[in-house]
Symmetry: C2
Subunit: 110 residues, 2 copies
DNA sequence: CTGTTTTATCGTAATATTACAATATAAATA
DNA sequence: TATTTATATTGTAATATTACGATAAAACAG
């Protein structure tokens, strides 16, 4: 018990859930917003913008990286983080499809 | 420790995170898909479509209801569940805004 | 009123997440 | 090489999530 029954759901359902899970924390939303709004995306700058300790931010960045939403490039001593545009459009399409489907059909409870 | 520091984030960040959290489980994605695809949305039918016990499905439905993604109307002995169109469009806009912002700007790591 | 059907709630075990101090690692610089 | 700087990893405590059996509650049928 206590373990999600991943094997009983479709790949699409699991993939969508994994993406949403990565987005399901205000700190990770905040990190993504910082990456958009700031010219620079050095890890240290992200830490300064957030009300969390450095190891915690590092952990959140790791989760965003693990689903491909974000990537990091070594730049001397620092690491430059940014939105991973390659995977981002795929994610956007998956989410768009879900939301569009939900908006179009409505057959009961009206 | 172990508790999300909600109070240090903006209302928008927390709201977005809460919505994504509700979507962050394959069973809840599956429930939403069933609500779209099936003519009927009686709770019992949802339970039959999913590989989970009735109390587990009931718990997932409760979470979807708590963020307003889904609503339920009593219909005799059963309950008719459906997508809550009123809150759905708000959610869609919030998510769209986030995704659009992320797609437009890209200033480094190129 | 009694039994049936349908859904929700309670209790609880297993597992996952969140946060951070302490520490490790890796690159630049003195 | 030793030191500094920037980030990652480890270990761990507190809390949350997931799943389901048992049971309650609510509506209907007889």
């Amino acid at each position: 018990m206590g373990l999600t029954k991943t094997e009983f759901f479709t790949q699409e359902q699991n993939q969508l859930a994994a993406i949403f899970k990565a987005l399901a924390h205000p700190a990770r939303i905040a990190i993504l917003q910082v990456l958009i709004e700031k010219d620079t995306c050095i890890c240290g700058d992200i830490v300064e913008e957030l009300p969390l300790a450095q190891p915690t931010v590092s952990q959140h960045l790791k989760e965003l990286k693990s689903v491909g939403l974000v990537k990091g490039e070594i730049e001397g001593t620092s690491i430059c983080y940014c939105i991973n545009q390659e995977t981002w459009s795929q994610v956007k399409h998956l989410v768009d499809d879900l939301f569009t489907a939900l908006s179009v059909n409505q057959k009961c409870c009206s």
